[in-house]
Symmetry: C2
Subunit: 212 residues, 2 copies
DNA sequence: TTCCCCCCGTTGCAAATGCAACATCACCCT
DNA sequence: AGGGTGATGTTGCATTTGCAACGGGGGGAA
């Protein structure tokens, strides 16, 4: 229970209290089983306690396409629940044996002064988690919005440099993962990095980059 | 005040009450003036009452890059405020003369049973607005994630067809806007649409499309 | 050490795409 | 009708990029 974003700064006894108040339930899903099917009703904020999930879109012809993985501590499908989407547009599947906590959204919004100690924090944490996901997606969108590979790379590296306030940075990706994030071919990425080095724009070694 | 997403389903007297309770303030910005500068403090949920804003990133060399426009009824910078980002990473500028409502975020989370009628709705609306923006961005990300123009087009059209449950659809874009959304060249988009028609995949006229 | 494997860089080539310039078309105004 | 204007389609061309194949280097295991 320690690393659950939604319960950040909440004391154990407060968590106990809110689980009861919200009529929370838990369930364990075995590896490969479907947690939420496309079209099924969405009423709860769902949290991964242990394990890992994949979220997939499902085409008309039935083929699935993984768009995201969710690990322990994070909630999922929160966007749909909060946005008022009643039936799931995605399939959620357990990648390993996975324990999940279900918190009815309706009850989260029943306000009582007497329980506001934890409720204020819970709501604040939920806002933070949804908003942070928004920032992550936006950041990647801005990268993908760039036309050329070089622009994508520079935009990405600069945004990180901005964040940490230095021009020597370390990225959390291998080349292959970096190519996936930038949505370009791995070899094309290597080629362009090489060109940018020749042009005196960057220096790099493994996942450490320096901007000039 | 009618079309403000944040005040959806709230009665006028409830809005009056909450404006007072939250210590809301308003301010008018003239065309071209800076509403929020990069680096300035973010404490309030901001809502456009009338007018239009642009949100821009600012490079180290000072050049600005518009990433979004915000029109009346929508809130902005909500992501940063809710995510706990204290200082603005973007510049917000008035495109026309624009009136803005500022709602201190801290006070939104002060829970009182006595005022919960409007507070519950307000919080629910805020969740909905942030989450809906997530869904919009995610949808576009999935499109941009496709490799070829043809895949981008099909993914986009299919996602809309999925939504409305028909294979004849109408999109909210002109060609130029569509090209912008798909992040491709306008003429390249026209060419590919033409090719797809030849290949018997789609039929189209203006912004109406039919999928086969 | 030697072998093996994985990650990364390099390169030739073909296909996709951006770019620019021009052609058409639809629509509005007079 | 005529002309003007803005949106869309078309096309040639140069560039970018994906793809596939190969090579080198580092690290782990026997």
């Amino acid at each position: 229970m320690e690393n659950i974003k939604l319960f950040n700064k909440l004391k154990d006894y407060e968590i106990d209290e809110l689980l009861g108040f919200l009529h929370a339930t838990t369930k364990v899903f075995s590896k490969g089983s479907v947690v939420i099917n496309k079209g099924s009703k969405l009423n709860d904020i769902c949290v991964v306690l242990v394990g890992e999930l994949s979220i997939s879109t499902k085409n008309i012809n039935g083929s699935e396409n993984v768009i995201k993985k969710v690990s322990a501590g994070s909630s999922f499908c929160t966007n749909y629940v909060c946005a008022g989407v009643k039936s799931s547009p995605v399939v959620v599947r357990a990648e390993k044996q996975t324990g999940i906590l279900f918190l009815p959204y309706d009850r989260m919004l029943i306000l009582h002064e007497s329980v506001s100690q934890w409720q204020k924090l819970l709501l604040k944490n939920l806002f933070a988690e949804v908003a942070q996901e928004n920032l992550e997606i936006s950041a990647r969108m801005n990268v993908l919005n760039q036309k050329t590979i070089r622009e994508k790379i520079l935009f990405y590296l600069n945004s990180i440099a901005d964040e940490v306030g230095k021009n020597t940075i370390e990225i959390p990706f291998s080349r292959e993962e970096m190519a996936g994030y930038l949505c370009v071919d791995r070899s094309a990425l290597s080629r362009e990095l090489s060109n940018m080095h020749k042009d005196g724009l960057i220096d790099y070694k493994k996942n450490e980059f320096q901007l000039f």
